[in-house]
């Protein structure tokens, strides 16, 4: 687990770009945090780094967007959903277990029991220090994520 403090949206963009350069296919990223903490901005920058050229917006109403970059990116937003049945209806579990592509889930904390066995949690928090200050914390849930997180942490801190 490691945290980064970003002092502006621009720094959040830079962090997401670094994640985009290291993230591996088959990874599920679950984004937690209140409205306006930078989740969507993070996904936009991540997608752009992964070669997506079109528009990236949170699928609050259409629930899932698929972007074609260097690999497919499946972008879910669970904000509007209330029951597990709805997740099944949109094929959520099928995508969670897909080996191809990268999955990003916003508001994943609404359905803690429905998340895959192994994923990377990304928590966004507002800090008192400044209006645009955020603490962004990466942690691995389940096995298989430790190595990736270590590599990501080194890359974020040293650029290597």
């Amino acid at each position: 687990m490691f945290s980064e403090i970003t002092q502006s949206p621009y720094e959040t963009v830079q962090l997401a770009e670094k994640v985009g350069k290291r993230v591996r296919e088959g990874t599920v990223l679950c984004l937690e945090g209140e409205l306006g903490t930078g989740k969507t901005l993070f996904v936009q920058s991540l997608a752009r780094t992964l070669g997506v050229e079109g528009e990236v917006t949170s699928p609050t109403f259409n629930l899932m967007n698929i972007y074609e970059g260097f690999c497919p990116i499946y972008h879910f937003d669970l904000y509007r959903l209330t029951t597990e049945e709805e997740l099944e209806d949109i094929g959520f579990y099928e995508y969670m277990e897909a080996m191809e592509g990268i999955v990003v889930v916003e508001w994943s904390d609404k359905f803690p029991d429905s998340l895959p066995e192994s994923y990377v949690r990304v928590q966004f928090e507002r800090l008192q220090a400044g209006k645009e200050f955020r603490r962004i914390t990466f942690s691995g849930v389940g096995e298989e994520q430790e190595e990736f997180l270590k590599e990501l942490e080194d890359f974020v801190h040293t650029g290597n």
């Binding site: 497919p72 597990e84 049945e85 099944e88 209806d89 949109i90 094929g91 579990y93 099928e94 995508y95 969670m96 277990e97 897909a98 191809e100 592509g101």
Partner: protein, 235 residues
């Protein structure tokens, strides 16, 4: 009799044309989750390869599920639209039944299984008797380990097939001696099976209606509730 058959219940996308007792053409590929982009071009290609005008088809068979919700919706929507536009009879073929057509041999216990996610599978048991495929148990949603445990009680050779084999069984589970895994080419759904199975259903007059035919969705959450009622605890 010429029919077009479609199976998009798993990651495999498969389209076939059976015409006058011949498997005229089949295109089967393990696509990623992009059936929506590949299915219609594949249909066009297979019809072309079989030299079959779509206006001269006499029926459409489609794999009904259980399986990937997204895949089933794409397959069914496509089959329905074509059946409606071309005014053709449509027949829904149970996906697990079509899988059992890979082994039309008497004396084997056939267990077709499709991934139901989170370690669970949709499973039915079939046997061939006197040239007929008989379903021995209705569809259930069970953990993979439970299905393997239950094979210990089955007499004769048991054949496991379906997408679950490569994903969760081969090299990951210990199997009893009398249980064998279907080889790769007889493991995943194929539209040729759907066509053959569909032709039988068509002959029996078991056609569907484009207006109200639905995929076989079995929600895991519902299945778990039933399991808990019967067994008193969650899986």
């Amino acid at each position: 009799m010429s029919i077009l058959a479609i199976d998009t219940s798993t990651q495999v996308s498969s389209v076939a044309v059976v015409s006058d007792g011949k498997l005229a053409a089949e295109l089967t590929m393990q696509a990623k989750l992009t059936h929506s982009e590949t299915l219609l071009p594949h249909i066009e290609e297979v019809l072309g390869m079989a030299n079959q005008k779509k206006e001269e088809l006499e029926g459409i068979a489609v794999s009904l599920g259980p399986g990937s919700f997204t895949g089933l919706r794409i397959g069914l929507a496509t089959a329905k639209a074509m059946a409606y536009a071309l005014q053709l009879p449509i027949v829904g073929v149970p996906t697990l039944r079509a899988l059992a057509w890979h082994f039309p041999v008497e004396g084997f216990q056939l267990l077709p299984m499709i991934d139901a996610q989170k370690g669970n599978v949709y499973v039915e048991r079939y046997m061939w008797e006197h040239g007929k495929l008989l379903k021995k148990t209705e569809v259930q949603v069970l953990p993979v380990e439970e299905v393997i445990r239950r094979t210990e009680e089955l007499p004769g050779t048991v054949v496991l097939m379906g997408d679950v084999i490569s994903k969760r069984i081969e090299g990951k589970q210990t199997l009893p001696m009398h249980v064998m895994l279907a080889p790769l080419h007889l493991r995943m759904p194929r539209a040729a099976n759907v066509a053959l199975c569909g032709l039988e259903l068509l002959k029996e007059g078991k056609t569907g209606n484009v207006m109200d035919m639905e995929p076989v969705y079995i929600r895991r959450s519902e299945a778990e509730v039933l399991w808990e009622k019967r067994h008193g605890k969650a899986i």
